[in-house]
Subunit: 201 residues, 2 copies
DNA sequence: GGCGATAAGTACCGGCCGGTACGGAAGGCG
DNA sequence: CGCCTTCCGTACCGGCCGGTACTTATCGCC
């Protein structure tokens, strides 16, 4: 991000962009795109609006970068889940990960990518679209993982990867709604238990 | 609502409150509580702000009434689902109903009670709380239905009603997120098919 | 120290937010 | 008809929204 050109000229930045972005991410997580005002964001980030605009562009770009950070941080479990040796293990890792992230103590209930901007008031259309894309892509990657599993004989021959992936993602999304509703970690883990009982084959 | 006192005095109302509320409900459905501005609402309702305030109180009360209308209209399927003869039929009715309502053509994708206000920016805390309450109550009623089913031998003796109800509600919530994501009715029905395969007993 | 470059802080922008004051319009009733 | 009551339309409120112009502070380099 910071050019880090051989020679850095000018007054150096007075804050840590990574930490500021982390804090912004949490505000978006808690309040959603619309609900997070610039005042909320910059206050949490500990900087002024001008600094925010200089460092991140505008609110929309800040959100995009916060979402990226979310993917690399709290939602990293998706990446590692896909690397699990079996489709079943991948699924359970995703669901357990969703539970853990949606209920991490000290953080906020729910999932940034679900709470962020479900409805689409005109003003936040682009944030909405980014999240739709994010969610669909997550499903697509799981589908691809399942497709490979069928090819490898890890899943029964008749299994439809797309359908199974959509089912798993549906449960994952539902989990984050339940978490936002105040349902606790243990209860959500029971839901995962129940879901895993239904595994094909 | 309208007093309808034996003698109606004064200038009569120039619009149909039911239809206005219906239209307001749809705006909330599409945009969520925060995303629906008074201008959006009154424009869709075809009345002025003053008329709206006189007839419904304020934005928050309007939302509450719109939610009630949603319960009595698009979400009526929950009521009838609970009256199904078996727990399995009730579950399938809820899930199919969620699919149908979340994807009714001409209306908007998703479910008012999920899209309405998932995150809680300070300004919409009360709308948020109302929806949390709504969702939890829906789950509680399903749980009670399951509890009866266990008592009646309709569900296997070991079944945990609370757990099963939460699972079903999780899938239902997930369905509405998927619908908001643009997933179509047929695909969602496949998810219901898949879910029903897992029925205990 | 002086200069160029970048960041930080202040004060402000037009616009929309939810909500309201007020005067006129439209009905029943004597 | 006048009168009372209720509703409608306009014009407006303070406050916050996302975003910005301009000044001041802090750096590297010569």
């Amino acid at each position: 991000m910071s050019g880090a050109r051989s020679t850095a000229i000018g007054r150096p930045r007075g804050f840590d962009t990574d930490e500021a972005l982390e804090r912004a991410m949490r505000v978006f997580w808690q309040r959603g795109y619309e609900g997070a005002s610039l005042t909320d964001l910059t206050t949490a980030m500990g900087i002024t609006k001008t600094s925010m605009y200089a460092a991140f562009g505008n609110k929309e770009e800040l959100f995009r970068k916060a979402l990226q950070r979310y993917s690399d941080g709290p939602a990293r479990y998706i990446e590692s889940a896909l690397a699990e040796p079996t489709a079943r293990a991948a699924t359970e890792a995703i669901l357990r990960g969703a539970v853990r992230t949606s209920t991490s103590p000290g953080d906020f209930a729910g999932c940034l990518t679900v709470q962020g901007a479900l409805p689409s008031s005109d003003g936040c259309r682009s944030a909405h679209d980014v999240l739709v894309e994010w969610r669909n892509q997550a499903g697509a990657r799981l589908e691809q993982r399942f497709r490979r599993a069928v090819r490898d004989g890890d899943l029964p021959r008749g299994t439809k990867p797309k359908r199974l992936a959509r089912f798993v993602m549906t449960v994952a999304f539902g989990i984050s709604v339940q978490a936002a509703n105040g349902v606790g970690r243990d209860t959500l883990d029971e839901i995962v238990d129940h879901t895993m009982l239904t595994w094909p084959g």
